[in-house]
């Protein structure tokens, strides 16, 4: 039986009047297991990023609980954070540092052993050798995304949160980034929580998906199960694009 890496129970986030006065996440529950890639899907404002940021402990839930590696942040934040990492297309790194320097800083923050070797491994894996001494602010958005992914893997994470990681990449680079993520995830048995608006990408990457709408779980299962539940039980292939449209059009974005 696979180990349960993440357990989210009745997670709720209400923002007060000064932050717009709305419920971003409304009592969602789910689990993720070792080596599983779990897609969090939904329209803009559905609550995906808020959920990811609560799992990352940068937003505090209003109610509910998050258990990672069997512990809560109150139990052992440092222990959890050492084995967790994150990448988002909306987050960057200091522009005046080179690729290698940024990786060194984050390697030190995560307490990575044999850091030089790890940096070289990742630079090689993500085809950044020629850019290792280039400053981050001189990189294209695609190159920055690859550096962000390097950083996300620097500590051999057991739980990886990827918030639209390929959003700024061209199709070829996005494809190779996905292949790399899949390869590393498979070899290290990393659990990944993945958000994307690219449904073909989600079908390719995710073992299981959870559709969130208005902060609630609309449907969950494997891409094929979700398609059969929402479109038709006769469906033989997953079609998350149609699932997305049907959920959003029926219940409103």
């Amino acid at each position: 039986m696979r180990e349960k890496v993440l357990e989210v129970k009745n997670l709720t986030k209400k923002f007060g009047p000064f932050s717009g006065g709305f419920t971003a996440v409304d009592g969602i529950s789910f689990e993720a297991f070792e080596g599983e890639v779990l897609g969090l899907l939904g329209p803009n404002g559905a609550g995906k990023t808020t959920t990811i940021q609560m799992i990352l402990d940068v937003i505090k839930p209003t109610a509910g609980s998050i258990t990672i590696f069997g512990k809560t942040f109150q139990d052992d934040r440092e222990g959890i954070m050492r084995r967790l990492n994150f990448s988002s297309t909306y987050v960057e790194m200091p522009g005046k540092l080179t690729v290698a320097e940024n990786l060194r800083v984050f390697g030190l923050l995560f307490g990575v052993q044999n850091l030089n070797k790890r940096i070289e491994e990742l630079i090689g894996l993500f085809r950044l050798s020629e850019l290792r001494n280039t400053r981050y602010n001189r990189l294209s958005s695609g190159q920055r995304t690859r550096v962000n992914l390097c950083e996300a893997f620097i500590n051999h994470p057991k739980l990886l949160l990827l918030d639209e990681p390929t959003a700024s990449l061209d199709p070829e680079i996005a494809d190779s980034a996905r292949a790399l993520i899949k390869e590393i995830v498979k070899s290290q048995q990393t659990t990944v929580i993945f958000t994307s608006h690219n449904m073909a990408e989600v079908e390719e990457m995710c073992d299981r998906v959870i559709f969130i709408n208005h902060g609630r779980v609309a449907v969950e299962g494997t891409p094929l199960e979700v398609t059969q539940k929402i479109i038709s039980s006769e469906e033989k292939e997953p079609d998350l694009g149609q699932v997305f449209l049907k959920i959003v059009r029926e219940f409103g974005p």
Binding site: K13, F15, G16, F18, S19, T49, T50, Q53, L56, D57, V58, I59, K60, R77, E78, M81, R82, L84, N85, F86, S88, Y90, V91, E92, M93, P94, G95, K96, L97, E101, R104, V105, F106, L108, L109, F110, G111, R135, E151
Partner: protein
Amino acid sequence: MNLTRIYAIVLEHLYIWSRSLSRLTDAFWWPLMDLFVWGLTTIFIQKLGGGVFANLLLVFLSGLIFWTVIYRSQYEISLVLAEEIWSRNLLNLFGSPLTIWEFITAGIFLSAVKLLAVLFSMSILAYLLYAYNILSLGFYLIPFVGSLAVFGWIAGIVINTLILRFGRDFEALAWTAVFMAQPFSCIFYPLKVLPQWAQSIALMLPSTYIFEGLRSLIYSGYFPPFNFWMSVILDAVYFCLSLLAFKSVFEKAKELGLLSRLLE
């Protein structure tokens, strides 16, 4: 408290600092220009006044150099947070094992390193231009610089707290807010010059006791222990309060989702 993580933040900011012309200009150019212009102005005034303004140059240069201690300490610690906001790196940092205490400690260490570099260059210039030897203050240099640096860090932590709570609109405080303390700190004039209401405020600032003590040392060769202990006590109380405020606002920022909003 993990030293490796503190070192990571220090390393990051030393890279940024060494590659940023504007940061280097901030750190060295303005303090040195202040010393140059106001030192010459003071010499001119001293010559006009004949023997009336004895020790004016000493009082003025000491005030200028020690005010720089407060300003640079505050500014550099605020800059650490500002740089992280500008480079959209906050979520990466606080989505790692880094704690806010390690972040603040790194900020204080960076601030101390830069402060020493600036103080050193100002002292050399003061000696070359005006034959003013800051080392002539002897042992008293330690309480002066120490107390004023801590006061600067307190101001920096308070300003960071406000930026964290109220967002990027408050960033300008990083290079303006500490000047509110300048008129009340009695840097160039004695406490009694201030109106009564302003004296009440001045007496709540650790810097006032140091600058009063500094003038006493220059004119009478005596630094009253009362001034030293008052500055230490006020520094200690305000430092603890500023850390509590930062911690509490950091937790509030997590509750309100403000950390990710600082990226916008």
